[in-house]
Amino acid sequence: MAKRLAVVDTERCVGCQMCMLACARRYGAGGLGKSAIHVKSAGGVERGFVVIVCRACPDPPCAKVCPTQAIIPRKNGGVIVKLNKCIGCRLCAEVCMIGAVLWDEETNKPRICIYCGYCANYCPHGVLKFQEIGEDS
């Protein structure tokens, strides 16, 4: 089976954005701009946070709308992105209703989780878990 990143309990999220920084750091960058995971308040921090990341859906719409086949469905769920084929049309970002196709404004290309699990190592409060697809999702 394939693995994916699961958001197991958003109520535990404190909004530290360490996951976002970890994702960017994996690419050797500081800051939040290269992150494929996004954390924002649920309408004011007192209401808690929303954690947005690709849930590795089995029949991904982002792959269906890509005019250049830059996004290919991965076996058992999720996608693989071929950035060299991407023309930056943003159709994938528009069609993903959970907003998990994030955008790298500096390269004008999508940022979609690659299911590496790196960020979960930096979630100190038990919000994220790297797990098999199908495991209590």
Binding site: V14, G15, C16, Q17, M18, L21, A24, R25, G28, A29, G30, G31, L32, G33, K34, H38, V39, K40, S41, G43, G44, V45, E46, G48, E105, E106, Y122, P124, H125
Partner: protein, 586 residues
């Protein structure tokens, strides 16, 4: 320097509604960032001896090379001329402010001039919009202001929204700027400087990445710091109970200022302790961006409406050690619900909680002694622990309906200079005291610290360590410690890291982190630079008329015994003089 954005300084002229970017590599190379750079910008931009409400008073925000890059590098430094003390203004805040400024592509922002009409600034990377804020001016609550801007502006998750309340609009000299709803640029009246410029809010957002000079070392070092942050007992303490974990130990020590420091032990300390608040009220913990600790504690205050059964509202109130001291023990209050409602009122109006509490404590004692009467307070009978009356008083401080409240809106120092009672007006260098009656080092620190804050040189911590070690504190020892600590803190505030992480960011670690960002500095060079930055701050202070001989020592601190016994004026004065001699040396 490895990152091309840090050296960009965004200049904004509110009068001309113009903005431009200047490359200030000169400053960021020499002074790193944060307070080091902001001090130089303040010296450059603030004309000599101006009134703090003069349009020419600059507002400067600065971040540093570690911002967005290492854990707990989550703070922004603000500098300005303070309307509260009439001298150096410096305030630090977290939230998402630092990450947003750096991600927008700037190392610093300088705001000059004043707008004729209310505006708010919306900074989205290289675009600055001067948005009309007529609708927001005078809105009763800072919470509402934040909510409105949140709805109309883009950038959720990668933005900061700094705003002022009516206290800032009405130029209360200890008005704060609130960011991400529960964090503050507090103390020295940045909110009033915003108000004087008709600047209601600033939003900053961006998604620029930061280039790292040594990526391999970066990842290794990051893990080292991250592990230290999530595993250290100190960080655990700040996560579990937050800063209010200090209430009980300080009370036990006899160092918790109570009822305007008539006492240093509070009979109801248990009620306002971190433990009790966590059990009874804690509803959520939140973090600044880039900090795993999550020290921000929000109380969920559930209250019934009196006009309808089973109709409740839940208010979220952030609490920390200092506000709990200032409006808790200092005002002699045992009713925690009342205390939280007062804190909520203070945040609604956008006041500094510490100055508000200490000013009200002075007013309460002044009333007790008959120095002021109901004529001055407009019928309010200020009594220890009477939170309903204190809430009314806070509204009056903001609205300033008569001469007395106009005076109180300038703080305890000013009010006592008009009405008397200076001997129990607990201000140092014009700034209301923090919650530490720990011994001589704390007070020498409040007097000599460049911004008259406990955070300048942490004398309170030195007092406690010395007390535990049963060590006698001589002026010599105190000054040695304070100068060293305050100098080093200039480096931490230039990186910029949170002072809570000071035990993680030891000199060796700082040298390595800077190396990954393209700075080659040795520990000796950093120590030298820290002292140099401190001296530059004092250069500004002396330029603006600061005189160590005019520092006032309130008699009250000599009357109430500290853990180190009763303090003497002579002992404190000797240390203060010694500090300024030491500052001149290299």
């Amino acid at each position: 320097m490895s990152d091309k954005f840090l050296q960009n300084v965004l200049y904004i002229d509110l009068a001309k509604r113009l903005f431009w970017v200047e490359n200030r590599r000169d400053l960021f190379e020499k002074y790193i960032g944060g307070v080091g750079v902001a001090t130089q910008l303040l010296l450059e931009e603030c004309p000599k001896n101006i009134d703090p409400f003069d349009p020419e008073n600059p507002i400067i925000f600065a971040v540093g090379p570690l911002t967005c890059v290492y854990p707990l590098a989550s703070k922004t430094v603000a500098m300005f001329k303070s309307p509260h003390t009439g001298n150096l203004g410096e305030s630090h805040a977290g939230g998402r402010s630092a990450i947003a400024i750096r991600s927008a592509g700037y190392g610093a922002i300088v705001i000059k001039g004043a707008s004729e009409t209310p505006i708010y600034l919306s900074i989205h990377e290289n675009k600055v919009y001067f948005r009309d804020a007529s609708i927001l001016w005078g809105v009763r609550s800072t919470f509402t202001v934040g909510r409105i801007i949140r709805e109309v502006e883009p950038g959720a998750g990668v933005r900061t929204i700094m705003r002022i309340g009516r206290a800032g609009e009405n130029l209360v000299t200890y008005a704060s700027v609130i960011t991400e709803t529960y964090r503050h640029f507090g103390r020295l009246g940045l909110g009033a400087v915003f108000g004087s410029k008709k600047l209601k809010a600033i939003l900053v957002s961006g998604k620029h990445s930061i280039s790292i000079a040594d990526k391999k070392l970066y990842r290794e070092l990051y893990d080292e710091i991250y592990d230290a942050a999530v595993k250290s007992p100190l960080m655990r303490k700040y996560h579990d109970l937050g800063t209010p974990a200090n209430i009980l130990p300080l009370n036990e020590l006899g160092a918790l200022p109570t009822k305007n420091l008539k006492q240093s032990k509070f009979e109801y300390a248990e009620n306002i302790s971190g433990e009790s608040l966590a059990e009874r009220y804690l509803g959520r913990r939140i973090a600044c961006s880039n900090c795993p600790v999550a020290c921000i504690h929000l109380a969920a205050l559930r209250e019934p409406y009196v006009d309808e059964p089973y109709f409740y509202k839940t208010t979220w109130v952030s609490y920390d050690y200092e506000p709990l001291f200032a409006v808790g023990s200092m005002l002699g209050g045992s009713d925690v619900t009342g205390l939280l409602k007062l804190l909520d009122e203070i945040d609604t109006e956008g006041l500094d909680a510490m100055s508000t509490g200490v000013a009200l404590a002075w007013a309460t004692e002044a009333m007790e002694k008959g120095i002021i009467t109901k004529n001055e307070t407009l019928g309010l009978e200020l009594k220890w622990g009477d939170y309903e009356t204190y809430r009314e008083a806070v509204k009056k401080i903001v609205n300033q309906p008569n001469e007395f409240y106009k005076a109180l809106a300038k703080g305890a120092e000013y009010a006592s200079s008009i009405y008397g009672g200076k001997e129990f007006a607990l201000t140092f260098g014009g700034n209301e005291m923090p919650g530490y009656h720990t011994g001589p080092a704390a007070y020498v620190g409040f007097l000599t610290g460049a911004r008259h804050s406990h955070l300048d040189s942490a004398g309170y911590s030195y007092d406690q360590k010395a007390f535990k070690a049963q060590e006698t504190l001589t002026p010599q020892k105190i000054v040695d410690h304070l100068v060293k600590e305050e100098s080093w803190r200039q480096i931490l505030a230039s990186l910029v890291v949170c002072f809570f992480a000071r035990n993680i960011y030891k000199p060796e670690i700082v040298v390595k982190t800077l190396k990954t960002m393209g700075y080659e500095l040795t520990i000796e060079e950093l120590n030298k630079l820290g002292k140099e930055i401190l001296k530059a701050k004092y250069e500004f202070k002396f330029r603006e008329g600061f005189d160590p001989n005019k520092l006032r020592i309130p008699k009250r601190i000599l009357e109430t015994p500290t853990p180190h016994g009763k303090l003497t004026e002579e002992q404190i004065k000797r240390a203060v003089n010694l500090y300024f001699e030491r500052l001149k040396e290299d």
